[in-house]
Amino acid sequence: MADDDDDKPGDRRPMIVLAGNPNVGKTTLFNALTGLSAKVSNYPGITVERRVGRVTLPDGRVADLCDLPGTYSLNARSAEEQIAFDAIVGLAGEPVPDAAIVCLDATQLARSAYLLLQIQELGTRCVVALTMVDEAKSATPDPKALGALLGCEVVAVTARTRTGIPELLDAVVRAAHGERRAVWTWEPDPAISAGIAAVRAALPDAWMTRTRFGTSVARGDDALALWALSSIEARADSAHGDADELDVPAAVRTAVERADLPEGKLDAPILARWAFLDRELPRLVAKPPDRTRTERIDRVLLHRIFGFAVFLGVMAVVFMSLFAWSKPAIDGVDSLFKWLGDELRTAIAPAASEELCDKLTASTDARTIVTDFLVDGVIGGVGAVMVFLPQILLLFLFLGFLEDCGYLARVAYLMDRIMRTMNLHGRAFVPMLSGFACAVPAIMATRTMERRRDRILTMMVVPLMTCSARLPVYTLVIAALIPGSAATQALLMVGMYLFSVSTALAAAWIMSRTVQPLKAKRLPFLIELPPYRLPRLRDVVRMMWSKSSMFLREAGTVILVCSIALWALLSFPRDPTDGHPDRVAACAVADGDEAKQALVDAESGARLAESYGGRLGHTVEPVLAPLGFDWKIDIGIIGAFAAREVFVSTLGIVYSVGGEADESSEPLREALRSAKKPDGSQAYTPLVGLSLMIFFALACQCMSTLAVVRRETRSWRWPAFLFGYMTTLAWIASMLVYQVGRLLGFG
């Protein structure tokens, strides 16, 4: 409601950032600090989530708390690290934080302290939240001694029980009022000092501490210069294949290039930080934390036989949940929107529903148009969006649970050997498996991979997997057009699955060798295998909700607009003189509803053929004729763009058996079987059926997939590429099947 009312100039809300490595309990702490106030959005231009919540400080002020992406370092090799850096120093439109809460994992103290050292060098005021103390038990360092060593306050917290939270916030208030100083634990050698000085001289005014902090902190500027040196140099190796450009002014870039430090020179700051930690921390940490529980679980879960058995079991559960268990919910959403549409239609035009024959003539009546728009366009479109929710919710429930307990990293570890043959990331396995149910949640699941290149490559091949929306099409085509026993038909269905897996893998292999931003040989695969931990239901549910609501807000709007556009395409123009006189006359004397309904269905078929979409079907007929399709199938293909299964109902209208026809409708099957070409020969031979199935297997017949790819890649370029390559591939493959088949004499 009254949401941004407190953004008065000069009275800025304090900004606190929450930084830390992945898997250190940062999200749990964020949720504990902000309660239900968190809002999730995206950083402009990229798919990194920006989570900001409110927290009331002990001094009565309300502060914004921004949860930064979990990173191991600030040297910007990835989008996540770039954002963490920008938010910590207050660049690229991010406000300068009043203080940073840095999570240090008591069981991984040195590694998490490394990030803290980098943050403190930059002059950001820090408070340490020491997490995982319940896990580290007696290995937990003394917060006071640690604080004295690191030069900032350290508070041990257990977010679950809120232990330490008030003390942490007290420390944040003290830090936010403290002076700005840059804490360095090492001294650069002359060569690096010279490089730093040269780059610092080139820093734009907006980057200097005197502008950002309002007070000059010399070593903070040094740290920023060092960051530019390290990040630009690391980015120079495009080996990590990230297409994102580092956002650095040209002058700084030139200064870095001119400094031209010898190869390996910039390892020194890293080694110096580690030397400090290795020298000082052992005094504070009595013994390494106990990992026997994780080791024991891994002995089973990563075992060469049991490991794969458990893996198959877990994946089967994920797959079944998407494929089968979500079905009642999906059907529920479908019938809910159908019911809503029917109710609305009756409410607006109660009379029209009574007499079947009126449907022949009423189509240009303003009331009918408005009703059709609301029912078929808007409610149908909203339904088309909502229908994805059950699968998205379920998939992210599982993903959140598997990620938080530590198993998802193990899946990548187990599958890497197989996936990398196709130059895919080990973590691409789960999205590809989910693609068997639906590409939309599967594409959203690519976010578990940190490299943009890996995410995009996976998104480009996931839509080739046999999603559940292709099944009604296959079922109809196989039942209507493919002769043979039930066993042959079942075998063909299995064949379609195998076909989709092999094309997806082959496509990944080919694209990773040919498409420029996806091209990358031997990308490093370095992932942490965190200790097993019991996930918190609250964190999982919150993640699930934030993903779903983002889908509704961003991809949902595109899907809705496309649905309405497609509805218009298939419903207009409406001829004011519609209602074929013969049919109107016949209806008046028709005996019984069945005969009348047949006339209404025939009228709907004729209208669809006359619509813009229908004319488009005629227009594209020459293009699709080499594949064995006629204009009626072409209209079905146009309709299928809304969702593949719509092909079936569109064909139902074209063949005048009514739009309610589903894949098991015998009249529709019969209509397809007996359809004739103008010359009287059979229109749809088994070969046409096969060509049609290949087309549906390969073509990107799904606007929702394109909408979600656009949302995940933040550009129209990738959905355009996806649509282009899949449709071209589909055309070529179906054409080959049909033409070669004909040459071989298969009709």
């Binding site: 370092s73 590694r111 990548a412 570890y413 187990l414 890497d416 370095l526 942490e528």
Partner: protein, 78 residues
């Protein structure tokens, strides 16, 4: 000098030098895989690759080809 890829399952070694592409080497160094640190090969994935290594109490999945760029002293640390 042996590389981490040659360390036997369950054995510990000491890192001597990390080579390889600059960005990847920096990443390993920043994670604490610096010369002098003890590293252990905890498990090998069922298909023979990647390795699971332990450094400073944290465990990582690392491919053989990447482990081959890390020179180690087979002698156990300390």
């Amino acid at each position: 000098m042996p590389s981490l890829a040659e360390v036997a399952l369950g054995q510990q070694a000491t890192v001597r030098e990390v080579s390889g592409a600059r960005a990847f080497r920096r990443r390993l160094l920043e994670l604490g895989l610096v010369p002098g640190v003890a590293v252990r090969v905890v498990t090998i994935a069922p298909l023979g690759d990647p390795l699971r290594i332990e450094v400073r109490g944290g465990q990582w999945s690392l491919r053989r080809s990447e482990a081959a760029q890390i020179d180690v002293d087979p002698a156990p640390h300390g």
